[in-house]
């Protein structure tokens, strides 16, 4: 179904509260995730929202219309849903959407309808899309497994030592090291498995982590900057109401922000919620680039690269 950012939104999908037991982003983490803290977490990779990306709010509808026609939403660089149910891994599911979406944007391959539940795009295999494991970050962020993590926390880990790929991929990359994606429900495009302590990661895993590191982060100061990043095609991670999610499309009619929820579904935040969530928001705008997108770890023989 073609994406129409102006379409009416089912009220049941706006400002959806998750059950308390799904609280992967408790209030104390929200209090810590300020722009200053995010700036520190980014280190040399971080920069403030650049003026060149500003779009006047009066121009947002025109930009949205263009994005609909040309498929330039961040949503169009996301080729899968993940499903964390019933875990507390949300910050890392959101972060892997940002990292994967950024890689796909660099790879310049669009997925026409965005992520679809229990569906695998042929383009994912053809382009060399790589699916990253949320657990590869969350296991270090919270060794106790339950209780969630902070957006700053998980970003700092990813910037420092990168992600591991999941055990399910759109094609066989023969990664030396991989990790199950979630201890939750998973799905067609996400592997699930038992809780992995950091000490149980495959030996030498840091080598593969280096291949999937954020190189540049843009952090925002206000909600309008968040909307501008989304209009430019960048996923933005925010945490609010006990849950962290990646913003992926702006609806000018409803003034609501759609996100790729880690429950196999698209949901929406109202403008009020977006305003409250935007402190400490960030986008990954650059990831490490492989020499060969179809052989990102360099482990495949030449004859295996033919489609």
């Amino acid at each position: 179904m073609p994406i129409d950012s102006f379409a009416p939104i089912d009220r049941r999908l706006i400002d959806v509260p998750l059950p308390n037991e799904h609280d992967g982003y408790p209030a104390h983490f929200k209090a810590e995730d300020t722009i200053d803290v995010i700036r520190d977490a980014c280190g040399d990779t971080g920069r403030e929202f650049p003026a060149s990306l500003w779009i006047e709010p009066k121009d947002w509808p025109d930009k949205a219309r263009e994005n609909d026609v040309k498929k330039r939403w961040p949503l169009n660089y996301v080729d899968r849903f993940t499903n964390q149910n019933p875990t507390h891994e949300c910050t890392c599911h959101a972060l892997t959407r940002l990292a994967e979406g950024c890689r796909n944007r660099q790879r310049s391959i669009k997925f026409p309808d965005g992520p679809k539940k229990a569906f695998r795009y042929e383009e994912s295999k053809r382009s060399g899309s790589v699916w990253l494991s949320p657990l590869s970050i969350y296991a270090e962020a919270n060794p106790r497994q339950w209780g969630g993590a902070g957006c700053r926390q998980v970003l700092e880990i990813a910037v420092r030592r990168g992600f591991l790929p999941e055990k399910i991929q759109p094609r066989d990359y023969k990664f030396k090291h991989d990790l199950q994606g979630t201890t939750g429900a998973g799905g067609l495009n996400q592997s699930k498995g038992p809780w992995p302590s950091l000490s149980s990661f495959p030996a030498g895993w840091q080598e593969t982590g280096e291949l999937f590191k954020p190189k540049e982060i843009v952090y925002t100061d206000n909600w309008e900057q968040v909307v501008c990043l989304v209009l430019h095609g960048y996923l933005v991670e925010v945490g609010r109401s006990g849950h962290a999610i990646p913003y992926a499309i702006w609806n000018p009619t409803e003034e609501a922000m759609g996100y790729v929820d880690s429950y196999d579904v698209m949901r929406w935040d109202s403008k009020g919620t977006v305003k409250g969530a935007s402190s400490g928001a960030f986008a990954i705008v650059s990831m490490t680039t492989p020499k060969d997108w179809l052989n990102p770890a360099g482990t495949l023989p030449a004859e295996a690269l033919a489609l």
């Binding site: 060149s52 660099q106 790879r107 095609g233």
Partner: protein
């Protein structure tokens, strides 16, 4: 009349076919390397840009790269001006810097074919691969 058993007939037929195809230009037999691609065949297109001047990859360029990626045997990507470029793109980046960033560069694994400065439209970007 000469009687030939089935197996012999099949072998003779295969030999005949082999002789035919080895004498047809452009049709290699067996696991050979195949026809040599032309020296100027474009298999890689890269848009190089600089965050300080370009800000982000313009939408029409992303559209063009996505379109080019649908062509078999062609990989189109974008890369921000950075010395940490993969080894196989170093010459391409040098060509882009020579014409001035942002630039789109068409190449293959052996050499840079052409570079064009600052394409504004999807059509201008697609033209690099003509």
């Amino acid at each position: 009349m000469i009687q030939i058993d089935k197996t012999t007939a099949m072998v003779l037929g295969a030999v005949v076919l082999l002789l035919i195809f080895t004498n047809v230009k452009g049709c290699p037999v067996g696991p050979g390397p195949g026809p040599t691609p032309p020296a100027n065949q474009i298999t890689i297109v890269t848009y190089f840009w600089d965050k300080e001047t370009t800000g982000t990859v313009p939408g029409p360029i992303l559209d063009a790269l996505d379109e080019l990626n649908k062509r078999p045997g062609l990989t189109a990507t974008n890369f921000e001006n950075d010395d940490d470029v993969p080894e196989n793109l170093k010459d391409d980046l040098a060509a882009a810097r020579q014409v001035g960033l942002p630039a789109i560069v068409a190449a293959n694994k052996d050499r840079v074919i052409r570079a064009a400065k600052d394409p504004k439209t999807t059509e201008q970007a697609l033209a690099i691969a003509l």
